[in-house]
Amino acid sequence: MIGLTWGELKVAVTVGTERRALPGGAALAAALGPLPPEQQALHAAALLGAARRAGLRPTPGPPLPPLPDDDDGAEEMAEAEETVAPDRAVQLLELLLGGNLGRPAAVQPLIAVWLAAAAERAMVLPHHLVLAALDRATADRELQPLVAPVLGRRGRWLAGCRPDARPEWRWATGGPARTAEELLTLEPAERLAVVRALRAADPGGARERVETLWSQVDAPGRAGLLGALAHGLGPDDEPLLERALGDRSGPVRAAAIRLLEGLPGSARAVRCADRLAPVVRLQGRFRPTLSVARPAPPEGDDRRDEPPSSEAHWLRTLAAGAPLAWWERTLGLPPERIVGLRLDAASGPPGWETDVVGGWARAASAQRNPAWAVALLDRPELTAQHRLELVQALPGPWSPATADAVLAWFERQTKPGFVVDAATAHLAAALPAPAADRVSAWLGRVAKDDDPSLHRSLRHLLQLLSTRISIAEAFS
């Protein structure tokens, strides 16, 4: 056009026309007239720049890759078949994910309630919440098994479309399709995330992968894999766990024991009960007293049932491992009577009461037994932290009786504000709807100025409770 290319002009103007002459002087002068070089360059920049802007062309690239399993529009049909959660429910999740109802930790159980409700109805997230859900669950591992089933096709596609750019979303990318061989190629943390997600969708499939991987991963890897099975634990898992009791590695044995404590029908639970049977006695008819003698120390094969570095607490190990139903059967008493028994300190090794009560508490949490948990809340042997854990281990929704007992216990505390605050998230997820009236009545009795922290905690709890009730209504 004017005998000068954009590249030539750019070089000259970058360096400066007083240092670098414009090429093609004669042609330029002919096109623009006799001008000083900087003015020629300005003319050229105005002309060529406008031409370049108007002449912008897209960069060619490879055509878009065809969609996976996209034959005859199967993908689109499947997307159409997905049911998105109802509008009202979607609004509630927006509030929960948007931080409007409290910190992430405070609303996590409600998000879990929402996700479980959606999964139960085979509903999926709307597209605009897929990203927020992926990010939240990436930051909070416990939500991953719940988010994975409601991501829908769009969410799974998004999580997997650029694994190199967003490797942290690996947990969400279609775990079920992964073979054990593929899992071996992943980083340990990613492998665990995929197994956890798979466990939520297909517990048996996840266990089979773990069994296949078992001999090919190192000890921390094996312990991690067992941990990934905690969600959805069932009797079918027992053979694998029983085998893991003989593992060379202490952490692997400890992980197996932790899981077996949640299976009161297991052979290990029977072994624990069998070792307790000879040493447990109920004495006295009118004011019964429990006496427990020192059990035989573990020898040989028993060692498998003993967690590493817990030699001093064999009795606690046995009490935590035996089925709670065994105590009820053996002593012929209901849980609240057993927990209320006088304990004969002189009958066994020093401090045995703490070990037995501590073992019961562990068993009540692991076996998710509300009657035992509620009864144990007042035992003086337990620390405040233990009691809170007992409450938090009880899966919701609670029966009205359990809810009443737990709330009554909270009301009896000397500093209820602290414990309510610590348990708010779990209470909001587990309390049955009618319990809101009791919380509300309690709030009415608490003067705002007397105990501001309790007042605040109860108000927050009520707000979360009403949100949970709204979630249930939105999905009904």
Binding site: G49, R52, G55, P58
Partner: protein
């Protein structure tokens, strides 16, 4: 007047967080002294401060006024009051006789007065001689400023862009300040913004050369402006920051054929805030004329932008168009912009979304007609593909042809909305990149 639905109210929200905050407030708890007439809503909302905020909503706009300090517009309180009102079936409790009701009525009356100002100014023209004198003085200043910029550009090119790039921001700010004094605020803003645009870019020399070339084109065109037609003059005036005011534009619009009556699809909107000035571009397309126009709204300092038009809605009525070409600015001229089209028009669709190759001729024609235009509307069937880094993302059409995604756009939320299959996208072509503003999803045009 057609009642606003909840969906319409939600689409007024400036962003998702405002909407979630508003939903939280859309319950009776925080509100007192609420009330409603056919045209007006009011109420007091207890915020974090001691004094509740006075919230007034003029439903004819709709326009929202709130005493809270938020710069979001409308703020969450205004949205919440609208949501509460829609949830209650268009009614709000309590009466007409409250301080809140009076505040709302006073504000609405003031608004109505302002809207009528242009009419009054036509009937009582200021002293024409004084006006002409002021205009002459301004032109002298501008011409001197343009000449000074030409000299400055010559120095810049002699010493080289590489040297200029090493200069601190103050160097550019000083040049910009002189342009402000010369009443060339458009050029001043461009000079002030250039060093920031160059920072960290591998192609900085291309950007600097293109941009300074455009300044020079403006300077030369200014010197010859009397020989330019009204459209070229309009393009130039917008670029240097001397755009005709809405009042000037309205006068004689019908006679000059700059009054277009149509049903306008609101195709997309983009808001920027540089700390001094908030700007919103709203792209509209006439369903009958096929004209794509841009409506500009500005708010300086603490002012708030007018309530946005809802992307995907159809607004009927005349618009006044500024003189110009390629990318033309417009303003709704009707008495009640925002009133939805009479039923039966169906959902708003995006017209002409094809491959990049097919839509680029139109974009090139627009830029050729108006080299001073910054953003050009494009409709393309495409997806968004995230890159390895934040600014390495692409907009890709079916054939695989691609343009960079505008660096101010986070690709992931857009990808979550659009998915893996190309959809009709509306966006702006800006500085060689594409900024998606709306997409046709599930047969409906929605803002991204």
């Amino acid at each position: 007047m057609a009642r606003l639905t909840r969906e319409q109210v939600e689409k007024l929200a400036p962003d998702a967080s405002s909407l979630t905050a508003a939903r939280k407030l859309a319950r009776p708890g925080p509100w007192s002294d609420t009330g409603a007439t056919d045209a007006l809503l009011w109420g007091k909302c207890q915020g974090s401060g001691r004094t509740p905020y006075q919230v007034s909503v003029d439903l004819t706009g709709p326009a929202v006024k709130c005493t809270c300090p938020s710069r979001k517009f409308p703020c969450k309180h205004g949205l919440a009051l609208l949501l509460l009102w829609t949830a209650n079936g268009g009614e709000l409790a309590s009466g007409l006789e409250s301080e809140s009701a009076r505040a709302a009525a006073t504000w609405a009356a003031g608004r109505a007065g302002r809207a009528e100002t242009p009419a009054r100014s036509r009937t009582e023209p200021a002293d024409p001689a004084a006006q002409a004198r002021r205009r002459e003085q301004r032109l002298v200043l501008m011409t001197a400023g343009a000449a000074e910029l030409e000299t400055w550009l010559g120095d810049l090119y002699r010493q080289g862009l590489a040297a200029a790039r090493q200069q601190p921001y103050a160097y550019w700010d000083a040049a910009a300040a002189r342009l402000v004094d010369s009443q060339l605020p458009g050029l001043a803003a461009r000079v002030r913004a250039l060093p920031g645009r160059l920072a960290g870019r591998a192609d900085w020399a291309d950007v600097a050369l293109t941009e300074t070339g455009r300044w020079y084109a403006a300077v030369r065109a200014w010197a010859r402006r009397d020989g330019l037609g009204p459209d070229d003059q309009g393009n130039l005036r917008a670029f240097v920051g001397w755009a005709a005011s809405a009042e000037e534009i309205r006068a004689g619009a019908a006679a000059e054929g700059r009054l277009l009556d149509d049903a306008w699809v609101v195709e997309g909107a983009h808001r920027t805030d540089d700390g001094r000035l908030q700007t919103r571009r709203t792209w509209i397309r006439g369903t009958a004329t096929g004209e794509r126009l841009v409506v500009l709204d500005f708010a300086a300092g603490p002012e708030v932008l007018a309530v946005p038009q809802v992307v995907g809605s159809v607004v009927t009525g005349p618009v006044v168009v500024w003189p110009g070409s390629g990318v033309r600015r417009a303003q709704f001229a009707g008495p009640a912009p925002g009133s939805p089209a009479p039923g039966g028009s169906g959902p708003a669709r995006l017209v002409g979304a094809g491959r990049f190759e097919a839509v680029f001729d139109e974009a090139a024609a627009r830029l050729a007609a108006n080299p001073f235009a910054d953003q050009v509307p494009v409709a393309v069937r495409a997806v968004v593909a995230a890159g390895d880094t934040a600014d390495g993302s692409w907009v890709v059409d079916e054939a695989g042809c691609r343009l960079p995604l505008a660096p101010d756009v986070d690709p992931w939320p857009v990808m979550a909305r659009i998915g893996p299959t190309p959809v009709p996208l509306f966006g702006e072509l800006d500085d060689g990149t594409v900024r998606p503003l709306a997409a046709e999803l599930g047969g409906e045009l929605v803002a991204l």
